[in-house]
Assembly symmetry: C2
Amino acid sequence: MQNFSFEIIASSLRSRARAGVLRTPHGDIETPSFITVGTQAAVKAVTPDDIRGAGSQAILANTYHLFLSRTHEVIQGAGGLGAFMGWDGPTLTDSGGFQVFSLGFGRDHDIGRSSTLFPGEDIQRFSKVMDVKESQHIKILEEGALFRLPDGTKKALTPESSIQIQEAIGADIVFAFDECTSPLSTYDYTKEAMGRTHRWAERCLAARTHYDQALFGIVQGGIWEDLREESCRIIGGLPFSGFGIGGFLGRTKEEMWRVAEFVIARIPDEKPRHLLGIGTSEDISEMVRRGIDTFDCVAPTREARNGLLYTADGRLSIGKVAEREQYSPIDAGCACYTCTTSTRAYLHHLWRQKELSYYRLATIHNLFFMNARVSEIREKILRGEF
Amino acid sequence: MQNFSFEIIASSLRSRARAGVLRTPHGDIETPSFITVGTQAAVKAVTPDDIRGAGSQAILANTYHLFLSRTHEVIQGAGGLGAFMGWDGPTLTDSGGFQVFSLGFGRDHDIGRSSTLFPGEDIQRFSKVMDVKESQHIKILEEGALFRLPDGTKKALTPESSIQIQEAIGADIVFAFDECTSPLSTYDYTKEAMGRTHRWAERCLAARTHYDQALFGIVQGGIWEDLREESCRIIGGLPFSGFGIGGFLGRTKEEMWRVAEFVIARIPDEKPRHLLGIGTSEDISEMVRRGIDTFDCVAPTREARNGLLYTADGRLSIGKVAEREQYSPIDAGCACYTCTTSTRAYLHHLWRQKELSYYRLATIHNLFFMNARVSEIREKILRGEF
């Protein structure tokens, strides 16, 4: 039985955009698709029924977080991530490689990976570009990454243990363990880290024992074309079922899309491409145009919890006093559960009172909004109108 | 059109227990019934659909809290409490009288109203029984109660303003403004406060302008039979649509039930009786046996949020390590949403990780449990088996 396949069913003539179907043991993902992030085997504030109702097709959990709380053991006992959560659709896990950056250099310097989280003014804080293999929170070795936890204990993740944990979690799509480099890394360090990522990729392929999970490789190389080219050649030449685009892509949106475009043109066209951890509602068209099939991002759920609700006219700040007596839904045209049951006035009240139900209702709306936008684009590709 | 009526359809031959139907403009409440508390026009952590799914028939919101945030104005603009919340069933509001106690004497001395929140050992702290008409947080006058808020501002509630606010909120059943006395009040003070409550009751009746809302009077008098008898005679003789039993009922469960029984025998039998703010899952049978038709209590929702889940064998502490790998529902026989979708292992994980979805799932279960127990008792009364 073929457990995993990817079929491209329509391609745009004017761009790299394409519509496809990613088949997994737990059902199909119609691409392009926004993958909903459920870090701790739970999408924050909502349940699987809510996520399904919001149009989400697949959930991505974080290996590092589940490993720290040893929840991967409990998940294995439950029969896998979907069974544990009560989600019968496709699932993914990242490899923990992003935490090598976010809990190491990223935490030390309070910066994020994408340019939107890294505005120009912050660069001024770093007079000297820094390359850290060792910091307060992490040490990177050829063997793997050693995390120092706030309580003083140490936890190691290696390509082999990442695969072992991801096999215990049992998601349909898993990622190779990589070293995600920072926006401040030099060419030389990015090259060195990329070499490690390539050796780790081969070790991940060798370590796997569950062939019903699709293993995706991750392309690194930062913003340098020769490095990205090399990474595409090496990772793209390995027997992965799909590819993740990782690492730093650029300081501006333009640079980001240029690097993504460059990578996509150099990895096998017939395999699915996932953009790791990037994608706000504004980015969807740009990503799809460049040939991204799937992407995951915490923005819709996180922004919902921060009081920002998506509308066709941009983000609505629900806490503003102007919403106090708006007896209309967030978005009159929206068919989501929240918009069909709650007014802005009520959501404003729940937000002001810090009522827990606010977080669920807001999350459902933002997820629905994201999924609906991606779905509309897919329909356009199928009709040849994108 | 008759907006409000109460019909007793079966009575127990061996006790005061009875099954009835309380008809309101927003639907029927089959009694006995547990009324779900939604303090801020929201039942904490859940939505109206969840509450309906858990078998709740009616929601009680708190006038004092909605008044403080001036939400009663917004609720009025929305067309009333049910319309504001998206709840199409019956609604109730208390009068703010309980906060005269809980935010005054209760807050100053960190004690609750019921004996379960007032264990014997705490009494030792009070060498002298205290009667406070004025404290740090509240001042009680013949005119009404003056609340001093943490930010220094003052807010007044009078019988007239309580009714006015409750009419703005527009619940189906509203309560007269009363002075809820404390477990430490003397006979003399309880008598004085009761006199005020009786005068306030008449002022509430005179102040009302919306006759589609049923106004319930509240019987006070503490643990003294002559005071309770007088309160029953005066409040019971006024043209209220039903009666609330308020104030301190006793230090032990036995004393509490004795006082409740004493009161119930002395108020008009044909009208509904509501026990204010009291009723854990263990109390249900005892309350119904004494003739309580409806009661409200935050215990099921609050305990859920505190990690305590109801089962036929008592409370389950979901955070205990023993639950970590229990791949079975909270209660195998329970038909609630939570038990049909989630295992103890998953709920344990959500609780440990402080995932917001835990609070919703736990609340749904405890509400369902309470409602199911009350409903079973109603069926028994109807079959003549209680």
